[in-house]
């Protein structure tokens, strides 16, 4: 399968990339690692007329301690997130979840910013950063703005990013020793989750987000609300799918997904509470 023809331009900086995307209009797309975009282009589900390659904007590949949070450059690859000692210490849930994206070859190319901007509800890291209360930084022609993860995902593969904005940084709060768990249920090791759960818990506070349980990653606020009021893990887990609207596909019916979500949230909370 070969993508439809397109023009290719390469950006050396975020500013240049934003200028190029503005110049080429709505049919232009950013290309980072390409592991979400190229498969869609090969299936002709996406046919951008111009690709602006940002893969060589080297100053957007970093993982830094920024006080109360860790700042991750949008072009940081999954393999570097997975193996980061800084994330292992301060945001172990994210480092662990990054190690479950695709397979090693995919993690050598795919980027953190790419998977967030692609906004696929079946991807691991949008839900994980949502559970962690992350903030995303978007840069446009008129400067930068911060978007809370909870406001970012607006529909299937749709985000709050404007057409001429580029995601440049992901800010993830430090977990401060919170218990955590990442649950991914699938049939083959490398597949997307049929249902996944990212969760953390510290005293009365918690964050629980669901993978592949709707058209966006889902924050399971009812579960956290119940835990805050003293509900048991198994009672709170019964509320796992309150905010979800799961779809049917080859792998699972909506009913089966709801069942899986309850079971996986219970397991995640048990692990995070241990």
């Amino acid at each position: 399968m070969i993508p439809a023809a397109f023009d290719y331009v390469r950006a050396g900086s975020a500013e240049e990339a934003i200028a190029l995307i503005g110049e080429h209009g709505e049919d232009a797309k950013f290309l980072a690692g390409g592991h979400s975009l190229l498969p869609l282009m090969k299936l002709r589900l996406a046919q951008p007329s111009v690709l602006v390659d940002i893969g060589r904007v080297e100053d957007l590949s970093y993982i830094r301690d920024a006080g109360d949070h860790i700042a991750i450059g949008a072009l940081t690859r999954h393999m570097d997130v997975e193996k980061s000692p800084l994330l292992a210490e301060h945001v172990p849930l994210l480092a662990h979840a990054a190690g479950h994206v695709g397979d090693p070859q995919v993690r050598h190319r795919g980027t953190m910013g790419g998977t967030i901007a692609h906004a696929d509800p079946a991807s691991d890291l949008p839900a994980t950063t949502l559970a962690l209360g992350a903030t995303y930084v978007a840069q446009g022609p008129n400067g930068t703005r911060e978007i809370a993860a909870a406001d970012f995902y607006q529909g299937f593969l749709e985000s709050a990013l404007a057409a001429d904005e580029m995601l440049t940084e992901i800010r993830v709060p430090k977990m401060g020793g919170a218990g955590w768990s990442f649950q991914k249920f699938n049939r083959r090791a490398q597949d997307w989750a049929i249902v996944g759960v990212a969760a953390w818990r510290r005293n009365g506070d918690s964050g629980v987000a669901l993978v592949n349980m709707g058209s966006t990653p889902i924050l399971a606020t009812s579960v956290s609300g119940a835990l805050a009021q003293g509900a048991s893990v198994s009672d709170a887990a019964q509320l796992a799918a309150e905010e979800a609207e799961p779809q049917s596909d080859l792998n699972a019916s909506p009913e089966y997904r709801v069942h899986l979500a309850k079971v996986l949230v219970r397991r995640a909370l048990e692990q995070a509470s241990a």
């Binding site: 070969i2 397109f6 592991h35 390659d53 393999m79 397979d103 090693p104 070859q105 050598h108 490398q190």
Partner: protein, 152 residues
């Protein structure tokens, strides 16, 4: 678009369409057909090659993205007529049946040992999760990788 790619130590200056996939560039422009196209959807790993020393799936990368990069394919592993230790290990441990997945398996396995020189059996199995063998010959593939890591 003009690109310069080093494949197995040889510099290639080429003019390619931006939509040319790296695997097609390697097979049809450079003329090295050891790298196979399997699923063509970044699932099976048959097209795995090393880009700057790391295994990637060459069906999910554009040739223009490899501009300036060092590529190693299965043909680039043997040195001076001597098979790479991983190739020898696959031969000695019957790590292949039909052979279609083998180039990708070997490239993924050598990349794995570069990152983790002494993996456990479980780490080998997880490390090769991106490569499928339709003969289901995984047992001897894992055995081959462990033998290579142990220097047998």
């Amino acid at each position: 678009m003009k690109i310069r790619v080093t494949v197995n130590g040889t510099v290639h200056d080429s003019d390619v369409e931006p939509r040319t996939l790296l695997v097609h560039y390697i097979r049809e422009v450079v003329g090295l057909t050891g790298t196979n196209v399997g699923c063509d959807t970044s699932s099976c790993g048959a097209c795995s090659v090393h880009v700057n020393g790391e295994a990637v799936k060459s069906c999910t990368m554009l040739a223009v993205q490899a501009d300036g990069c060092e590529i190693t394919t299965i043909e680039g592993l043997a040195q001076g007529g001597e098979m790479h230790p991983m190739q020898k290990a696959f031969m000695e441990n019957h790590g292949l049946q039909c052979g279609y997945c083998t180039p990708g398996m070997v490239m993924a396995a050598t990349s794995l040992l570069k990152e983790n020189p002494s993996p456990t059996e479980e780490e080998v199995r997880i490390g090769l999760e991106g490569n499928l063998c339709r003969c289901t010959g995984y047992h001897n593939i894992v055995k081959s990788v462990l033998a290579c890591a142990a220097g047998d």
